[in-house]
C-alpha cells in the first residue's frame, strides 16, 4: 500500500516537473522575445542617418547643425540627452531634445519651425528630427539622467507636468496616472511602469526614442507622449507643446539617476 502511494507520488512528480518547467509567464516570454530582438535593433539605421544629418549642410541657409547648443555648449552632443529638458536662455523656454533640435534647424539652417511642428510624425522633416534625436540619445547611452531644477521655469514645468500627469479628462475620464500610477500593472501583455516615482534603469523616460517592431517605426518622446494622449482620447497636444515638455520634465526628474538605454526596442 505504502509503496504504491510513494510510487504514485513519484509518478506525479515526474509528470508535473516538466510541465512546471515549460510553463513560462507571459512576461517571461515577452522578455525572451525582446532579448532576441535586442541584437538587431533597427534603431541603428536611424542612428546612422541622424549622425549623417547632423553633419550635412541642409536647409535654406545650407548649414550643418554642428554649432547647435543642446545645453552643454555649441556642438556638444555627448551627455546632452540625459540633461534634457532644460531651460534655454536664448529661446527663453524650457525645451526637450526634439523642440531644441527644431529651434536649431530654424536658427542655423533656416527651416520654418512652425511648419515642421505641424507636419505629421514620420513624414517630411519630422523624420529628420526623429533620426537626429535617435543619434543624440544614443550618444548618451549608459549615462544617468540628471535634469536641472535650478531655474524657476524648470521647477514650474515640473509642477505643471505633475498636474497634467494626474489630470483626468476626456470621454474616458482618463489620466496618465490611470495606467502609470501603480506598480505591476499591465495593458494586454505590456508591463506598465509606475511613472509617479523612479521606474529604474532603462524604463519609461529612459527608454525613448525607441524602435517599435510592430509597426516598424522609430518614435521619439514627442510621438510617445502625443500618442499617449491619443490613447486617452484626448486631442494631440502638438509637437513640442508646453504640455508635452512639462510632462517630459516630470518624467525626467522622476528618473533622476536612472541609466538611459535609448534608443531601445519595443514590441
Amino acid at each position: 500500500m505504502l509503496r504504491s502511494i510513494v510510487g504514485a507520488a513519484l509518478l506525479l512528480l515526474a509528470c508535473t516537473a516538466p510541465a512546471v518547467w515549460a510553463q513560462k509567464t507571459a512576461v517571461q516570454s515577452i522578455e525572451e522575445y525582446r532579448a532576441m530582438l535586442q541584437d538587431g535593433n533597427p534603431a541603428d539605421l536611424f542612428e546612422a542617418k541622424g549622425e549623417d544629418l547632423w553633419k550635412q549642410q541642409r536647409g535654406p541657409k545650407a548649414a550643418t547643425l554642428e554649432r547647435c547648443d543642446l545645453g552643454k555648449g555649441a556642438g556638444v552632443v555627448k551627455g546632452a540627452f540625459t540633461e534634457l529638458p532644460r531651460f534655454f536662455a536664448d529661446t527663453q523656454r524650457v525645451q526637450d531634445l526634439e523642440s531644441r533640435l527644431l529651434s536649431c534647424m530654424e536658427t542655423l539652417q533656416g527651416f520654418n519651425a512652425a511648419e515642421i511642428a505641424k507636419t505629421p510624425f514620420d513624414k517630411g522633416e519630422q523624420k529628420t528630427l526623429t533620426a537626429l534625436a535617435t543619434w543624440i540619445a544614443a550618444e548618451s547611452k549608459g549615462m544617468k539622467f540628471n535634469l536641472s531644477q535650478a531655474h524657476p521655469e524648470e521647477r514650474t514645468f515640473y509642477e505643471v507636468g505633475k498636474r497634467l500627469f494626474f489630470q483626468r479628462a476626456g470621454p474616458h475620464d482618463f489620466a496618465c496616472a490611470t495606467c502609470h500610477g501603480q506598480d505591476e500593472k499591465r495593458i494586454r501583455l505590456q508591463d506598465l511602469p509606475n511613472l509617479t516615482k523612479n521606474p529604474g534603469d532603462g524604463v519609461g523616460f529612459a527608454a525613448w526614442p525607441a524602435y517599435r517592431v510592430s509597426n516598424g517605426q522609430m518614435w521619439g518622446m514627442q510621438q510617445r507622449l502625443n500618442d499617449c494622449y491619443r490613447q486617452q482620447r484626448f486631442p494631440y497636444p502638438g509637437f513640442g507643446s508646453d504640455a508635452t515638455i512639462a510632462l517630459s520634465v516630470y518624467l525626467g526628474v522622476n528618473s533622476q539617476g536612472s541609466v538611459s538605454v535609448a534608443p531601445a526596442i519595443k514590441r
Partner: protein
C-alpha cells in the same frame, strides 16, 4: 537612393558571425492605404553575401520578411581584415551593396 545597411562581422574561433540590418520598407502588397487602394508590393527579393569577392550566401526573399530586416549568419574560415559585402535587390530593380571589414 536607399539608405546604407549596417553590417557587423566578428570573428570567434574559425568562424565569423555576421549581423546585417537593412533599411527597406518591405511592402507585402497585402496592405491598403487610407483611400482603400492596395499598396503595391515592394520588397527585397535577392540577397547575396560575399567574402573577399566569393559568394558565401545567397537567398531569395519574399513579402513575409519584416520592414527594416535583420539578417544574421556565420561564415567559416573568415579572418580579421577580410572584406564582407552584402547586396540586395528589390522588386523595383533597385539594388544596394555595402561592405564591412571583418574584425
Amino acid at each position: 537612393m536607399a539608405d546604407p545597411m549596417r553590417i557587423r562581422a566578428q570573428v570567434s574561433g574559425d568562424k565569423a558571425t555576421v549581423r546585417v540590418l537593412m533599411s527597406h520598407e518591405m511592402e507585402s502588397g497585402q496592405r491598403k492605404d487610407a483611400a482603400g487602394n492596395t499598396v503595391p508590393a515592394w520588397f527585397i527579393q535577392e540577397v547575396t553575401a560575399s567574402l573577399n569577392g566569393k559568394v558565401v550566401l545567397s537567398a531569395d526573399w519574399g513579402p513575409a520578411v519584416s520592414k527594416n530586416p535583420f539578417l544574421q549568419f556565420t561564415v567559416k574560415g573568415a579572418k580579421a581584415g577580410d572584406k564582407l559585402a552584402v547586396t540586395w535587390k528589390d522588386t523595383k530593380g533597385e539594388t544596394r551593396t555595402d561592405e564591412a571589414t571583418v574584425s
